[in-house]
Each structure stands twice: as C-alpha cells, then as structure tokens.
Amino acid sequence: MFVPSPMDGFTRIACLLNNTKLQQSHTLRENIMIKIVFFAALREQLACAELSLNAEDVKTVGDVKQRLSDKNSQWQQTFSKASLLSAVNHDMVDDSHLVKSGDEVAFFPPVTGG
C-alpha cells in the first residue's frame, strides 16, 4: 500500500495505476495541487499513471521533475533522462515553463504513433 510521508509533498492521493478515466477526472480535489500524469513506458517503469503534487514552492516544470526525482533512485534516474518529454495543459513545454495550481503536467517518452 502507498503510504505518503508528510515530508515528500505527495498527497494522500496515491498513484493510480491506470489512466483510462483521465478524460473524466480533470477536476482537482484541492486547489493548491498540480495533477501529474505519466504515459506509456514511463507509466510502466514508475508503476504510476497519475498523482497529485503540492504546488507550493514548485515554480517550473524543472522543479516538478526535481520533486519527483527526490522520491527514490529509480524516479531520479527516470527524470534525469534527456529524451523525456513534458507537457503542461496539453501543450509540449520545456523545463523552464512555469506551473501553477490546477495545472495538468504530463511526462512521457518520445512519441511513436502513425
């Protein structure tokens, strides 16, 4: 069971293991939270499809990555990859992009559709 520590910034909303209901779950329960979603290989590696992060003291996408990296060495390795892509509210962004409460931040590997 996922037991969030009060120090790590992750809320009582644990990782959801699949995001099939993503389209319906846009509303956040707390207005100071950032919703974070993961896709494809990234979701499988982290065994996490979605989580919420306390937005206080998080200013940029780079800060979000740093907070997620602090979780453990596996997450640290994942979020240090240069190929990792980031999106905020459905637009591709880079690490310097500012995030605010209520944003949906997504991380995923390079795309392979078509």
Binding site: L22, Q23, V37, F39, A40, A41, E44, S83, A87, H90, D91, M92, A106, F108, P109, P110, V111, T112, G113, G114
Partner: protein, 160 residues
C-alpha cells in the same frame, strides 16, 4: 463549398474505418477540389528482424486531439487545401489492420500530396501516441515499447 466542421477532422478511435467511406465524406458536396490524396498506415508483420504479432497503441486523451488540430492548422496555413481528415486507432491491433488514415483534398494534386505528407510526418513526431509491439522470437512472446526513430525526426525537420 469545402467548409468542414473542425471537430470532425480528427478521430481517435478503437474501431476500424472504411477507406471508401472516408473518401466519400471528403468528396461529398465538394465540387471545388479536384484532388483527393489519402494515406493509410497498417500493422506489418515484422520490425527490426522480429516477427510482430500485434501492436498496442496508447494516447494522451485531450492532448492528442489538440496536437493533431495544431498540425492540421499548420498544414492549412502552408497550402491551399480543402478538407482534411485524420483518423488514428488505439488499443491492440493485429497484422494487416489499419492504424492511421490521413485524407486531404485540394484544387490541384501538388498541395494535397504535400499537405498529406506534412501531416503524417508531424503526427509521427509531435502527436502523443505510443506503440507497444508484441513479438515472437524463438517461440517466446515478449512485449516492447517502440523507441522513437531519429529518421522520423529528421524527416519532419525537412519541412521547417
């Protein structure tokens, strides 16, 4: 008259599609465009020397539609084209099944050819879809997420 409801230009769906029906929709009441260019992508039975049994397509609901809309908008700004339709399937797809459709109409063929290729090239590197392949090797089945190809990025970069 070639106006089209923008919402109907994009469809992300699990279901298969009919090429004939899609062409008919691109042509219906469209008397100004003489060219109809379509591309269909299918699941092939091999990749990097391995025997592929299926592909599973994942996407990012909301962002995928938004990025495809942006790509179509860019194509319309660059070429005088009429109607556009992009269909991308999701879920598990087997050998020979259709994955993706891009249809473009224009007055003359050059614009439809170019815009169609542009949309496919950008879809490959910008739209959030991911493929996982199921392969059989020496009687064993395994699943792998496909790695992005630099040749796809290089191809898309040629347009800019």
């Amino acid at each position: 008259m070639t106006s089209q409801d923008p919402l109907k230009e994009i469809s992300i769906q699990a279901e298969d599609f009919s090429l004939a029906d899609e062409v008919a929709l691109l042509e219906k009441d469209n008397l100004t465009d003489g060219a109809v260019v379509t591309f269909t992508g299918r699941v092939r039975n091999n990749n990097n020397g391995n025997s592929v049994t299926s592909l599973t397509l994942e996407h990012y609901p909301g962002m995928t539609e938004k990025s495809l809309a942006k790509i179509i908008k860019q194509a319309k700004e660059q070429w005088p084209i009429g109607r556009v339709k992009v269909i991308h399937r999701i879920g598990e797809l087997f050998i020979g099944e259709q994955i993706v459709f891009v249809g473009v109409t224009s007055k003359h063929r050059q614009d439809a050819y170019a815009a169609n290729e542009f949309i496919m090239d950008y879809l490959k590197v910008k739209a959030p879809f991911w493929k996982k392949e199921k392969i059989t090797h020496a009687g064993k089945t395994s699943e792998n997420w496909l790695a992005a190809k630099s040749s796809d990025t290089d191809k898309a970069d040629l347009w800019s």
